[in-house]
């Protein structure tokens, strides 16, 4: 192969940046290309909660592997990444949620993730601003949060330090065997292309039908001015799992995260098939009303900014990671919905292992992009 480079990574969000670094660390010559800068889209909108979720064993495995990897890097991240390791508190409102929280604790414990129940009487000591009367909570002490665009920048810088090259402000029009076509008409050749273009990833695969569409799932966030101590760790309603991960077209769920600045980041909302980025006041209102049902004094806080972001959702809630069999050399690393910050490192590791033909610690088959094609008689079968 006489190419100038071994790999082109399309997209410099946190997933693309992580892939670029991992591939470069494996000794490959990597170019990264993005129509804007590092981490400007879903990465910039995201909350940055590093959380191990367990909707399925496959989701758990990817999150958990990525958390193990994050844990090795968190102590080395620069201050701009705002690392906070004070854990997550999942609040249960009723007996059903309490039972589900206990089941989750057991699930975690069986898999070596620390988790413990907090009794109602102790809740005020953990979070004084929680309303009284909850049935208890699940504390996951090892969860963390980071500032995602700064973390993406750090990953990119690590890649650049060891020889990767970033094509900033260049848009890829199409990905094909052997390289990418840019909007300015250049064909950049490489034997391997990693498509980490998020919501745009499938459009770039001209003529390849993987038998699925990614759906945009819009979210709103609000940040307050500085009120250090208002809450001490990320607090979510346990119902978040069914409200956020259910199929309802529009839902809101309580989620508050203290930032290192003393600001409070408050979410969350989910709207399927809405791709406009405008802030919608009715949704914002529902979201903040919900939040006040858990922490009434949120009503006293000043919001200084609200914004939205688009999560790229797949039909089964799992990302698309791995080779596209009908396009040799083309790999997908996209469709992470709301978990891309958490799972970026495990995704990068999986992609690198597949590219390098190395074995992975976790089974990569649940994330293969061809998994939807099989049942539809399409070409891209496993």
């Amino acid at each position: 192969m006489s190419s100038l480079r071994d790999v082109i990574v399309v997209g410099a969000g946190i997933v693309g940046s992580a892939c670029a670094w991992w591939l470069a660390r494996a000794g490959l010559a990597v170019d990264i290309i993005d129509p804007e800068a590092v981490g400007t889209q879903s990465t910039a909108s995201a909350m940055g909660h590093l959380v191990v979720m367990d909707d399925s064993e496959a989701q758990f495995a990817l999150c958990h592997r990525s958390r193990v990897l994050w844990d090795t890097f968190l102590p080395h991240l620069p201050a701009a990444c705002e690392v906070d390791t004070s854990g997550t508190l999942w609040v249960a409102r009723d007996e059903d949620e309490l039972a589900a929280a206990e089941a989750r604790r057991d699930f975690y414990r069986d898999r070596d993730v620390k988790a413990e129940m907090v009794a109602p009487a102790q809740l005020a000591a953990y979070e004084p601003n929680l309303r009284k009367g909850f049935r208890g909570a699940l504390l996951v002490p090892q969860d963390a949060s980071i500032y995602p665009p700064a973390a993406a920048r750090w990953l990119m810088d690590k890649a650049l330090e060891i020889g990767a090259k970033f094509h900033r402000g260049r848009k890829v029009e199409a990905i094909a065997d052997g390289g990418v076509l840019t909007r300015d008409g250049e064909v950049l050749k490489a034997p391997v292309v990693v498509n980490a273009a998020g919501m745009a990833a499938l459009e770039l695969l001209r003529g390849i039908d993987l038998g699925l569409a990614m759906r945009p799932r819009k979210g709103h966030l609000v940040i307050t001015d500085r009120v250090p101590g208002f809450c001490r760790r990320q607090v979510l309603e346990f119902g978040y799992l069914k409200r956020a991960h259910g199929d309802e077209d529009t839902s809101v769920a309580f989620n508050i995260q203290p930032r290192r600045t003393g600001q409070m980041l408050i979410g969350s909302s989910r709207q399927f098939d809405v791709s406009s980025r405008e802030v919608e006041l009715p949704i914002l209102s529902r979201m903040l009303t919900r939040a006040q049902e858990f922490m009434p004094r949120i009503a006293d806080l000043n919001c200084v900014r609200a914004w939205t972001g688009i999560r790229a959702a797949t039909p089964d809630g799992l990302p698309l990671i791995g080779p596209i069999l009908s396009a040799p050399g083309v790999f997908l690393a996209a469709g992470h919905e709301g978990l891309g910050i958490t799972t970026a490192l495990a995704t990068a590791e999986l992609i690198t292992n597949v590219v390098m033909e190395r074995r992975s610690r976790i089974d990569g088959s649940p994330y293969l992009p061809g998994r939807f094609a099989e049942s539809k008689g399409l070409r891209d079968v496993r």
């Binding site: 500085r226 250090p228 208002f230 600045t261 006293d300 806080l301």
Partner: protein, 87 residues
């Protein structure tokens, strides 16, 4: 000034009681008492009222634990607890 104007009640600024009036803003009270650090900027600089009419937000203080208000737009009331020097 404090010798000539009748004070009506106390408000607490950073735990210390100050005699105040209901027709005074918090900014009036604090400046009368020679209290010039209303809050700190992110990089540590001192901030105090600049515009005095609610536009610049430089005079922000915290009341009732977590409520951030503009001192120049907030009237004194009995027992109010004010925290200054925050960000």
């Amino acid at each position: 000034m404090s010798g000539r104007v009748e004070r009506e009640f106390e408000v607490f600024v950073d735990g210390r009681p100050f005699a105040a009036r209901s027709d005074w803003t918090l900014a009036t009270l604090l400046l009368n008492e020679g209290h010039f650090q209303f809050r700190r900027a992110v990089k540590g600089g001192t901030r105090a009222p600049f515009c005095g009419v609610g536009i610049c937000h430089e005079c922000r203080v915290v009341v009732d634990d977590f409520r951030t208000v503009r001192a120049c737009m907030t009237l004194c009331r009995p027992g109010l607890e004010v925290r200054t020097g925050g960000e």
